[in-house]
């Protein structure tokens, strides 16, 4: 039994185990608190995502309608040609910030809106429908960037949550019970040894008394 648990029954071991058990319990509590905090954070982000998603998807479908219109009016080739001529240097500012010790992206984006003159395609050969389509897509892109940020944050939180959960379960269902069992075993064994000793002494005393 002693070898099965990998401990030898002595007082030193009891102290060590007690220390370990305390630490494990504290870690478990802390991790659980962290999980709760993460869930709260996550719910907030999730609500935001739903909001952004409906908005972005609506704008995107508007944009697609405008583009289809443009394909129809200007012709497919001309439209793709115009897209090729467009200045494609949109930049988004991304930095990382920290939330409960996990790094999440923080996006700063002023919106993609430009006016027809700065887009870079030739105004002379294109129709105003193209401007419209480009404008709608710029708007959609702005919303999509917001949505992407929120989703990235949610994903990061979920990953951390998964990790925390794994650890909590490992502590709760494996490490802590194991330690407790080992501790119980040692204490029982020590008690047993004491009782053995007690009877031994009694017996010796009886023998000594007989001899006298």
């Amino acid at each position: 039994m002693a070898t099965a648990l990998g401990v030898s029954p002595n007082r030193m071991e009891v102290m060590k185990l007690k220390k370990r058990l305390g630490l494990a319990q504290r870690g478990h509590d802390l991790l659980k608190e962290k999980m709760d905090a993460l869930v709260i954070e996550f719910l907030e982000v999730f609500r935001k995502i739903q909001d952004f998603r409906t908005k972005a998807l609506k704008q995107l479908s508007t944009a697609h309608r405008a583009l289809t219109n443009c394909f129809a009016v200007m012709g497919t080739l001309e439209t793709t040609q115009a897209a090729r001529e467009t200045k494609r240097e949109l930049q988004i500012e991304i930095s990382t910030r920290y939330l409960m010790g996990i790094s999440i992206p923080a996006v700063e984006f002023g919106g993609a809106q430009r006016n027809a003159l700065t887009r870079g395609y030739s105004l002379h050969t294109t129709s105003s429908v193209l401007d419209e389509a480009a404008m709608e897509f710029e708007r959609a892109l702005g919303l999509l960037v917001e949505l992407a940020e929120a989703e990235a944050v949610a994903l990061a939180i979920i990953r951390e949550l998964e990790k925390a959960k794994r650890r909590v379960n490992a502590l709760e269902y494996i490490l802590i019970p194991k330690l407790k069992e080992a501790l119980k075993f040692i204490l029982m064994r020590l008690d047993e040894m004491e009782r053995e000793n007690f009877t031994r002494l009694k017996r010796i005393k009886a023998i000594l008394e007989e001899r006298r």
């Binding site: 719910l43 479908s61 697609h64 793709t80 897209a83 494609r88 897509f137 959609a140 999509l144 992407a148």
Partner: protein, 111 residues
């Protein structure tokens, strides 16, 4: 740091996003090519956001999911509907929540 935007999708989506100023575009035609391109986008240091249409993501299937799981924090990847407005019935995010939080499904209530 400032980053650029990349798009993978059908011709309509890429054209529109190019008009809006997305720097890199790839029109999906062959699975292998798209996968290679996606890998390139994901490992690039100057791309901050990759937009992929749901349809393409679905066609890439397992490889796409694997890439999502193993990618770094940046670039962010967002799946968007294409011009038909196609969005798969199963919400990936919801699915993940179900897997991690347990049987709990988050339902948003208005107000």
């Amino acid at each position: 740091m400032s980053y650029k935007i990349a798009v993978i999708g059908d011709r309509g989506t890429t054209t529109g996003m190019a008009l809006a100023g997305a720097t890199y575009t790839h029109v999906h035609a062959k699975r292998d090519e798209t996968l290679a391109k996606l890998k390139e986008f994901l490992t690039s240091d100057e791309i901050g956001l990759v937009l992929v249409t749901h349809r393409v993501a679905e066609e890439l299937g397992f490889d796409f999911r694997l890439m999502m799981r193993t990618k770094r924090l940046l670039p962010m990847v967002l799946r968007i509907p294409d011009k038909t407005g196609y969005v798969p019935g199963v919400d990936e995010l919801r699915e993940t929540i179900k897997r991690t939080v347990g049987a709990e499904i988050v339902v948003k209530k208005e107000g």
